[in-house]
Symmetry: D2
Subunit: 401 residues, 4 copies
Amino acid sequence: MDYVNGPGRNHLFVPGPVNIPEQVLRAMNRNNEDYRSPAVPALTKVLLEDVKKIFKTTSGTPFLIPTTGTGAWESALTNTLSPGDRIVSFLIGQFSLLWIDQQKRLNFDVDVVESDWGQGADLEALASKIAADKSHTIKAICIVHNETATGVTNNLATVRKILDHYQHPALLLVDGVSSICALDFRMDEWGVDVALTGSQKALSLPTGLGIVCASPKALEAAKTAKSVRVFFDWSDYLKFYKMGTYWPYTPSIQLLYGLRAALDLLFEEGLENVIARHARLGKATRLAVEAWGLKNCTQKEEWFSDTVTAVVVPPYIDSVEIVKRAWKRYNLSLGLGLNKVAGKVFRIGHLGNLNELQLLGCLAGVEMVLKDVGYPVKFGSGVAAASTFLQNSTPLIPSRI
Amino acid sequence: MDYVNGPGRNHLFVPGPVNIPEQVLRAMNRNNEDYRSPAVPALTKVLLEDVKKIFKTTSGTPFLIPTTGTGAWESALTNTLSPGDRIVSFLIGQFSLLWIDQQKRLNFDVDVVESDWGQGADLEALASKIAADKSHTIKAICIVHNETATGVTNNLATVRKILDHYQHPALLLVDGVSSICALDFRMDEWGVDVALTGSQKALSLPTGLGIVCASPKALEAAKTAKSVRVFFDWSDYLKFYKMGTYWPYTPSIQLLYGLRAALDLLFEEGLENVIARHARLGKATRLAVEAWGLKNCTQKEEWFSDTVTAVVVPPYIDSVEIVKRAWKRYNLSLGLGLNKVAGKVFRIGHLGNLNELQLLGCLAGVEMVLKDVGYPVKFGSGVAAASTFLQNSTPLIPSRI
Amino acid sequence: MDYVNGPGRNHLFVPGPVNIPEQVLRAMNRNNEDYRSPAVPALTKVLLEDVKKIFKTTSGTPFLIPTTGTGAWESALTNTLSPGDRIVSFLIGQFSLLWIDQQKRLNFDVDVVESDWGQGADLEALASKIAADKSHTIKAICIVHNETATGVTNNLATVRKILDHYQHPALLLVDGVSSICALDFRMDEWGVDVALTGSQKALSLPTGLGIVCASPKALEAAKTAKSVRVFFDWSDYLKFYKMGTYWPYTPSIQLLYGLRAALDLLFEEGLENVIARHARLGKATRLAVEAWGLKNCTQKEEWFSDTVTAVVVPPYIDSVEIVKRAWKRYNLSLGLGLNKVAGKVFRIGHLGNLNELQLLGCLAGVEMVLKDVGYPVKFGSGVAAASTFLQNSTPLIPSRI
Amino acid sequence: MDYVNGPGRNHLFVPGPVNIPEQVLRAMNRNNEDYRSPAVPALTKVLLEDVKKIFKTTSGTPFLIPTTGTGAWESALTNTLSPGDRIVSFLIGQFSLLWIDQQKRLNFDVDVVESDWGQGADLEALASKIAADKSHTIKAICIVHNETATGVTNNLATVRKILDHYQHPALLLVDGVSSICALDFRMDEWGVDVALTGSQKALSLPTGLGIVCASPKALEAAKTAKSVRVFFDWSDYLKFYKMGTYWPYTPSIQLLYGLRAALDLLFEEGLENVIARHARLGKATRLAVEAWGLKNCTQKEEWFSDTVTAVVVPPYIDSVEIVKRAWKRYNLSLGLGLNKVAGKVFRIGHLGNLNELQLLGCLAGVEMVLKDVGYPVKFGSGVAAASTFLQNSTPLIPSRI
């Protein structure tokens, strides 16, 4: 435990898990409770209604599963698909890769559409495949809304347009792990059939809840999907929803109250304001990167992510050293480059309960780390670029006007 | 949230989730951390070593899975068995029933050995089946060490003896959810191949960790087991263990530090002392039940559970009313009767971080509730029976001698 | 720190500091704040209004002083009196003794009216003194509403009647440390000029706030009182009240939010219900003591305290052993006998955020301790006496009906 | 309570109360305890020993008084002096002013040595007075080590030299509120007779403990000092120290455990490293102020404070607007200018549990605020100046090397 005791706060800028606000820590600071008393179902009932708002759905059915993002993926797949089903899946970075690995191990017939890491999903390839698939052999499209490894945001509206254009009935399964509650996400409008996130991302909770939302079409598919599942089976939840007791197995009392507090904070700030804040912090980060003379791993502006920025380092620098140094000297936690981009990029997560000055502290820290590892950064350059933008765009805190 | 605000503390006597000690609440009161920094692997490494102690194993390999007991069950089964495998499974109450349901849904060929609810596993039937199975078609024995629904503890040493006697190679998979850290459990000595528990039981943590321990034989079986699995796949963990980073996906930082604190408390008290304390509280509870003139759902002394007591109510009383009343009037949380024994029994959980006076307060409360619902209890009778025993047997608190 | 780690919860039955409810612990689990921002004055303003309710005053002015009860005493005395002023003060136990000691050291001319420890204030003596004091040399009456050392509650209404009867202008200064928020206390109706309590008593907070409330007459007296004071000077507070910033020096942010939560809980339960609960728990305790065949230190029923019961032990037992044993063996914290009654009584505090089953657990524990030290208690006798009463009188928890 | 909910963390840069580290929040997250059990004296005994280390004294006697800095002042004065005693006291800013006000109200004969706000104590004047005071009418020198209102650190070593040079027996009473645990402070070496601080300053705890340390000479003086005192009287503490129970009245259990954790953190980092960190952050702040083209309120380098910097704003700007704006728009809490410098300076506190990136975030925030209020700051200029220095001087975090 010695490692944790740096003086001052840890500056947590990995793209998840993210900072937990004090209000949420307080809400979770509690003893266990009997989840079969009337109190927990009453709490859960309202939570399930409110969780739908973060997916922007009115017709969806949410599940709060005691698991991580990986489990949420498995829940989305096994409830809607049968072994051997053909699915189209986009490989654009480490997390889409891991999901595809899961899809294969679950015995689906995965049609992988690969792009360079740093590019978005190849939607032209999708259009071709969909156009060609007259007999509707494609059962689902699996897409990561925001690839956390490369800082790439895919255009889900276009995916929906393609499917609609060809009147293709494939399910649309979306990993929203590093997007939901931070980026613009519209489950109903975009016809997403299963969307999912994890509590430790933009919701700013501890890890432990896989939050999955299923459209009526997905629930219908679940009735015939033959993938073997028990723990992740939605039908157990639905049975308990009907009974009004809600939980097929023991939930984390602490995470339920924490989720309540997290949603209260989100709604108090306003979901649109939260999204605008992420847009602001994302742009500020990119302006800093540009000012440093470094490149964004994301290759086109249309894919820029407002929750994470992957920064490409010069070839003579190992990005692993940057992450190590940041943690060892400045108590700054940055994200490593993963797999194909290991050593080549480091990542700044800017999602969740975060504000302008926290980000500027991080950017100032990155400048010092860059100098530490031999990159000739001009001190203050990134901070200045970000500040210039932020000083113009940051609104007053609504509760303090 | 109004429901929770009774004056004074909630008296939590469901057989899980149980009371979290203040030391553990404190340890978990913390922000998220980057789990890829050196700190979390260093913490995890020691946790994995220490967790083996609660299983009493030196050769086992533990997995800390972000899931519940249901997920831990699934982990035990899918990693060691293939669809169609014949397993012998004992049905003695609601939790063994649920596990059997899972086993069937996972497509195993389940040979169910049923007993009356209130009886232990029928080990004679096991002996017959094992004796008859010369060709070793039985791949695994699945047994719940302590059936939480009826307060029945099974004799695992005898199960091992039977298997050894016939030199039968079946795997021994044990649900230790309401036994491990509370009852005598000896993974290595009893040749248990997979043992599992949940964090919210005797470990006295929040829900969220499925703690699974696999013997070398189980790990070997995992190499050829054909059950489809990804989230619950041990191989992902083993890969990361080898790399020294430990986590295939994001762990709950709070639960890791909480587990550290929980283990520290256990070891400080001494595991044998913890087990003795449970024996003491279990016996005290049973003496009270006897003094009230009520029957224990558990039919023979050899099966008496030291973590939960299911109390049979007279036919003219609905045990649901007892549980409701206890909660509504005395802020006392008791366990419902489940399924076959619904309305017929209520349950007193006496596991986890609990002491004598907490139990006596509960017993006094049960007396008042019994009177409330029309049972002619003699006030003080159960408390007196329990106190007489406890005053003789309770040791000084070691740290205060 | 080893001492604290008994298994299970500590049973805290000293008459203060008392159990802090989880809701209050949560509210206090927060970082410091700038107390000069608009947030803290806004919070304080409402707190000061709400605090008046616990004193049952509309005309009083409350002060939240960062101190203990001893400091609150000093605040009451030095703001209203001048050195040499004659005051009548009742000595009935250790806390009235300590206050009198303070009064003497502050150079007042203290007219001590002593009673046996276990008796209430001698109000006949007061009447005589007041009757005789035609020239109004008596400037103040100092009385402890509830003497925590002996479990004696004085009759303040009678004190007021005496003063009114003789139209005597003496100030009435009341120590309500172990009464306010627990016993019936009516500042305005009883014409109390200064009332005070400490946060760690019935308000169920940590120690740290001396809460003092002054009548208009007391504020008037403060203008001419010549006792030297700075830290405890009300005038500094009043200056900052007028400015709307409220704090002459740094308050404890945590205690302010804790007080907010504590008041919310009190008002949610209802102050009258809280007082009724204390009456119930007090009576239950006394019934238990009677059933054990032991005597209450309080000599007449009219003085029985509903917040603390001092139990007289037989001469062959040292009550210090009872307190030691309770803590060492049962994790039960009882109050020692103090000064004159040291060794002769032990005390059960039953105030603050407490419910029936907590008390019954304590009573069961006391029975075991009594046996431990050689007193021939009948197990269950006290619990039965208390339960019989409580089962008849305990209301449903309002939020759970 | 709405005010507190800005997105992200509050950036707390007032010169107290300061950020509480998570480790300390955790330690304080606990129920009350019986302070008369063996546990609390055992804890207190070690705390008192360890507290001496932060004063750098071996011969001093510390008192942990449940009060604020104002109360600690009163404790220092009333225990060592008698009404009418002549004392020399330095007026250099708002806090020395308030202390002098207290000294006068406590009826000492205060010989005020005034300097311009922004200058240090006039030690030449002290030398003259001491030289002239052959008959030793001066009983004490009262000096604020670090004037929090102006960011001025006085030279205590010189004060001692002056007293020694003239062999003058005056007591040396030092307000170390914003210096101890942050600046170089040497009680024994500098012959300080009473030193004091508050828990909410560099110790990084909540408000609530006035920590006072008395030299043997001060304790001797206390025996004859005639100032009236009860709550602040050291003799009550000393009586309880002798008995080994330590507490004349109820301490805050939470603050005691918090103090334990705070000291553990200090000692783990190393007191000299903590002081070096403050020196680093102080210099970085001053470099930023210089880069912005603004003036430090502190008029000479020899008085520069490493815990707080008071920044003079141009005459056309009202510094109140800066503080308001910082809080309303950036969740940044800065210190106001007080009294004589109200409107003219704002203050950056850089003391307590704080690190480089937190400070840089603050400095970036100040730049934006300056622009907001119309000062033509060059974005990034202050951050660059600070970073250039910090990147050169910041050591690796010892526990992470």
